[in-house]
């Protein structure tokens, strides 16, 4: 908590006291960390002269709590193509969303109505664009409304969060983002804030939403009042920061303005968080209007705080920043943001380094992680593309996969930061895979770009599949964004460096710890720790108790000339005497030095990889080989309570959690549930009661039981038809090959067709009342208005050769000659 001035005047807005996320500093509140909005207000920042618009279903511009700050120039009705963004009113108040979001940002203060907006003096507008058909043009138009006037565009919508959709901006919307960041705000770049996603319950992953996953949007996620993950929250590596929102039914929600001049205390979802973040950014833009779109992202990363955001996912990246897939860099801090913004110096220009595409087709066997590594010099040979310090990292991937939801993808940076680009999505059974999909991570922000990057793909077998069909990586490309120079000046960097030094070695992941040992220069060396002649005895005070008989140059443990017990560190970088070696080091009693254990070891007997006795966080101890590993090898499972790799049951090739919870079986065994049962010969299945192989129905090639409805794959020359294997499709259906299946599937012929051949579009017999014309069935009715001119148009445009128009008076025109 920071300065909370008790003298700050209370507002007369009736729901002011219900805005719990503004009062976390008070002891009675459940929220333990402040977003420090009051402190930013106390510094005088309330959003004056900053223009915000809400891209949504409209804004009630005459709402008493919005009217004072309403800005018509920041508004437009894309659905109705006019300047009035007023929502369409209906009985269910469906179009309340934009008005609710707007109130969070800029509801007026001290007007005895509803609430106080976070930027209560900002100009607020609304772009009505969700209440109608949304197309690429509608989105592009909305994202590009008056970019010279509007500073921040806040969007709390996106593709379906159903856990099976992969969708993002079209060509024009992408163009609108790029135009916005290049030309908006007189070249400083429009600020696009986005709600990270609401599909937590559906197992959705926000990297499958191309808007929130874009480098041009600031992706905001949510935390409950107690700092937990709300049920709706999606995780992904592109989330930048978090604001408070709401959680379970017993958690308090957000109070804001509502449709029909009302107020509400029931606003929820990530829609709460994006406008909240927008309001905080409006304060920062008031503090420093010359911030660029990239300055804003740097500022958010520097000032957001992990404190009290509860997840085990926190990790420290190679630049010393704590980041999580749930909360990004943490809870937004308005006060820190305005303070940093005020003194901010624009970051150096953005460089983009596009790596060469790896087009080797790589098969991805199920349940075995596949790693592809690429080394990069980060375009060091092109001065205008050279990236030294990272910002966003994008991986463009094309993968074929019979069940897309089974895929998990990670990216490991040269500093060892492991970003999960895609998590498993149980509802996603699409066989479309990913076609040039761009996954984005902000987890490597501030790290150096050069070195070896590793893409890790894991295809977890969660459902019955054709064992011959494997996932295939067709192509991947690494795109690095960042700067050639260190982005912060010394004044700015002080804050981040002091934050870095606050991190203790035990908090770091092993790989980062190793990196930090280099950065902080706590490395051992082989030179002797001997006295320096001529300096001994120059002291007047006592030496540190750990100093040996040769004395010291000062009172501290790092000023000893030799040690009683062990020395830690190196001569180059400074070393000190310690009574025992810290974790990650072992005691060399002969040399009386602390020597470093092998990477990943917490304690060890020597420096070899097979001398580990305990492992660091994130590693598992393999007791048979005394090694530490991030993933247990095949045949072993990770036992989480003691972090050991333990052996699977003898029939399992792989298992999880318990020895007999198999995920992959050894040869001659098949997986049923989580047990490995003896494999039966083709046409047989294993009867669990009789404990023997028995025959499938003759129509099945493989099956789960004896019935004809229990086929997994059809026998030769049989086709799958409505859950059964049949020798021929019934009338009105035709057999079609399917990518993921070894047999054909019966598909229905086109509408009105009684029988077709080869494809649904090649009809050979029509239903009653229809006639066959060029493989399609046209109605026997004729058009009354098909005059000569009309039929000439039909003929000249060859409409009757086109499927879409074949019902279009073709018969009438043909009969008329």
């Amino acid at each position: 908590h920071v300065r909370s001035n008790q003298q700050f005047p209370s507002f007369n807005d009736p729901l002011w006291s219900n805005m719990w996320y503004m009062h976390c500093g008070e002891r009675v509140r459940h929220c333990r960390s402040e977003m420090n909005i009051l402190s930013a207000w106390q510094r005088g920042y309330t959003g004056k002269n900053v223009v915000v618009t809400i891209l949504d279903d409209g804004i009630e511009k005459n709402h008493p709590d919005l009217i004072q700050n309403y800005d018509g120039r920041a508004s437009y009705d894309v659905n109705g193509d006019d300047d009035d963004p007023t929502p369409r009113y209906d009985a269910s108040n469906e179009n309340k969303h934009g008005t609710r979001c707007a109130g969070e940002v800029a509801a007026s203060a001290n007007n005895s109505y509803c609430i106080v907006g976070i930027a209560y003096n900002a100009n607020i507008g609304g772009i009505r664009m969700l209440d109608g058909d949304v197309t690429d043009v509608v989105e592009a138009k909305s994202l590009g409304i008056r970019p010279e006037h509007i500073d921040i565009y806040s969007a709390s919508w996106g593709p379906d969060d159903d856990g099976k959709t992969v969708d993002g901006p079209g060509v024009l919307a992408k163009q609108a983002f790029e135009t916005g960041i290049k030309k908006g705000r007189e070249g400083k770049g429009s600020i696009f804030v986005w709600a990270s996603g609401n599909g937590g319950k559906e197992g959705d992953y926000c990297s499958c939403d191309g808007y929130t996953n874009s480098i041009y949007t600031i992706s905001i996620s949510s935390a409950t009042e107690t700092g937990k993950k709300p049920w709706y929250l999606e995780e992904c590596a592109s989330t930048l920061a978090t604001t408070y929102s709401s959680g379970a039914f017993y958690d308090r929600k957000i109070v804001t303005t509502d449709l029909r001049h009302r107020c509400t205390d029931g606003h929820t979802g990530t829609s709460v968080s994006a406008p909240m973040a927008t309001g905080i950014l409006a304060l920062a833009l008031e503090a420093n209007p010359s911030l660029t779109w990239r300055d804003v992202q740097h500022l958010i990363i520097k000032t957001s705080r992990p404190a009290h955001m509860q997840t085990t996912d926190w990790r420290t990246n190679g630049a010393g920043r704590r980041v999580s897939h749930l909360f990004g860099f943490g809870l937004k801090d308005a006060d820190a943001l305005v303070v940093e913004a005020k003194k901010w110096k624009t970051v150096p220009s953005q460089h983009v380094c596009i790596g060469s595409s790896d087009k080797r087709h790589t098969s991805i066997p199920a349940d075995q992680p596949v790693q592809m590594a690429t080394k990069t010099n980060a375009c060091a040979d092109h001065a205008d593309q050279h990236v030294v310090y990272l910002e966003h990292v994008v991986v463009r991937v094309s993968i074929l996969h019979p069940y897309r939801g089974d895929l998990k993808i990670n990216l490991i940076s040269p500093s060892g930061t492991n970003s999960q680009l895609l998590g498993k999505r149980l509802h996603d059974n699409s066989n479309e895979g990913f076609k040039n999909w761009e996954f984005m991570t902000v987890h490597c922000w501030g790290e150096t770009a050069e070195g070896e990057w590793t893409l890790e793909i894991f295809d977890s077998l969660t459902r019955i599949r054709n064992p011959h069909l494997q996932a295939k990586l067709k192509e991947w490309t690494l795109i690095l964004y960042g700067t050639a120079e260190y982005p912060y000046n010394m004044v700015n960097s002080h804050h981040s460096r002091s934050r870095m030094l606050e991190i203790t070695a035990s908090e770091l992941e092993p790989s980062k710890a190793a990196f930090y040992h280099n950065q902080m220069e706590i490395v051992e060396d082989e030179d002797e720790y001997t006295a320096v002649p001529g300096r001994h005895g120059s002291l007047t005070g006592p030496c540190h108790t750990e100093c040996g008989d040769q004395g010291c140059d000062g009172p501290d443990a790092n000023q000893c000339l030799n040690c009683v017990h062990f020395s830690l560190g190196s001569a180059k970088t400074g070393r000190k005497c310690v009574s025992s070696c810290p974790s990650g080091f072992f005691e060399d009693n002969t040399a009386r030095k602390c020597r470093k254990c092998y990477k990943g070891c917490e304690t060890c007997m020597g420096r070899n990889p097979n001398q580990c006795t305990a492992c660091r966080r994130g590693f598992y101890h393999h007791q048979e080989t005394n090694t530490c590993m991030t993933l247990c090898p095949a045949g072993y499972y990770s036992e989480e309570s003691h972090k050991h790799c333990l052996k699977c049951h003898q029939r399992c090739k792989k298992c999880v959690g318990e020895p007999d919870k198999c995920t992959v079986c050894k040869d001659r065994f098949s997986l049923v549930g989580d047990s490995c049962i003896p494999e039966c010969s083709p046409g047989m299945y294993f009867n669990m009661e009789a404990m023997r192989c028995e025959g499938c129905h003759p129509s099945c090639q493989t099956c789960a039981g004896p019935g004809r409805e229990e086929c997994i794959q059809c026998a030769k020359d049989f086709h799958l038809h409505e859950g059964r294997c049949v020798p021929a499709c019934s009338e009105g259906f035709y057999p079609e090959e399917v990518y993921s299946l070894p047999h054909k599937v019966c598909r229905r012929c086109e509408y009105n067709c009684a029988s077709c051949e080869g494809s649904g579009k090649n009809c050979i017999k029509c239903q009653e009342g229809f006639s066959l014309l060029s493989g399609s069935c046209v109605t026997n009715h004729t058009c009354h208005n098909a005059d000569e001119t009309f039929c000439e148009m039909v003929k000249s445009n060859k409409l009757c050769e086109r499927k879409l128009f074949i019902q279009f008076c073709c018969r009438a025109c043909l009969l008329a000659g």
């Binding site: 989105e139 994202l143 590009g144 709390s156 079209g170 609108a176 135009t179 979802g269 499927k803």
Partner: protein
């Protein structure tokens, strides 16, 4: 439902400038609209094209596609977008 796309009667295309866009739209009887602040992208609308369809249209825009000054042309597809 998943996999079902709805196409609208409007088309967008990439040209070299507003004047050319207007001359083409006059010839092909399309109405030209500006797309936000995007330069060289225009939105074309023809009253004779089916307003909303589950099939991609092959109507009067064929004239647009044939024009050598047109670099790229795409019919608008309705996207499913949800409030969060």
């Amino acid at each position: 439902s998943p996999g079902l796309f709805v196409f609208r009667r409007r088309w967008k295309k990439f040209l070299f400038g507003q004047a050319i866009a207007h001359s083409i739209s006059d010839l092909s009887r399309h109405v030209t609209l500006q797309i936000g602040s995007l330069e060289d992208y225009y939105h074309f609308h023809h009253s004779k094209t089916i307003k909303r369809s589950t099939f991609s249209s092959r109507g009067p825009h064929s004239f647009l596609r044939m024009d050598p000054k047109v670099k790229w042309l795409q019919q608008q597809e309705v996207k499913r977008r949800v409030k969060r």
